[in-house]
Amino acid sequence: MRKSELASHFNPALFIPELKATDKEAVLKELLDLFVKEKHIRNSAIVLEMLHQREKLGSTGIGKGVAIPHGRTVAASDVLIAFGKSTAGVPFDAMDGKPVHLFFMVIAPPNDEGNVYLQILGSLMPILSDAENLQRMKAVREYNEFIEVIRGE
């Protein structure tokens, strides 16, 4: 997936430059609330349940301070990504045991044309394994700064 296409699945309304949450559960809820507020999701309890199950499969904290909670749900119609940042870091049972600072919540419908959902997960990985990108993202205050990193600008 091209970076410009990946960027099109983000949205300024699904962006939190400083999360209030200090634990795993609260982070999931705070990010999910954005989808509800934007009317992308009607029943957040169902989606929260799906995210809990996903964490049961294995923590989505992939290490280096990054987590990508994700999943498909019948309760969504579009593939969208919310971003949230915690300067202090949140314990998230990450693979390397370190607190997580950067959160990418990817919510997708049961089916999507061209399997965009898996492509999004696949194209986030290399961006988020680059140390310089992570440094830049940890410092962003506004959506524009953030999306530049995603676009590779």
């Binding site: 309890a45 799906m50 499969l57 294995g58 119609s77 049961p110 898996l118």
Partner: protein, 111 residues
């Protein structure tokens, strides 16, 4: 969380989609060590759904891959047929389970 039948079916479909895509997600580098636990959660949830409804779900899933699909702007996102307005109003109440007349999938209203 107290769920009704419709919500349980949605959660079951979400779990089945997750189980189905575990390999793909693992290939991307995600941790999926809890696969057995997830299967167990799936069985527990399935046990909470009435037998006839569960077998209807399984039949639809075997035939059409997805047994229950979202409806957005009155369009079934399984086959993209517009649902009758009379159905839409009742579908939103989440009390009864409606099926798409065209593809036969069970419907979950998003708006």
């Amino acid at each position: 969380m107290a769920m009704n039948d419709l919500e349980r079916l949605v959660s079951l479909q979400d779990l089945d989609l997750m189980i189905q895509e575990t390999d793909e997600v693992a290939k991307l580098g995600f941790n999926v060590t809890g696969y057995d636990e997830l299967q167990k959660a799936r069985e527990e949830l399935a046990n909470q759904i009435s037998r006839p409804l569960l077998s209807r779900y399984e039949r639809l899933r075997a035939k059409l891959k997805r047994a229950i699909v979202p409806v957005k702007n009155d369009i079934c996102l399984g086959c993209f047929l517009r649902q009758p307005t009379s159905l839409a109003a009742r579908g939103r109440e989440d009390e009864e389970i409606f099926t798409c007349e065209n593809c036969g999938r069970m419907l979950y209203w998003l708006d």
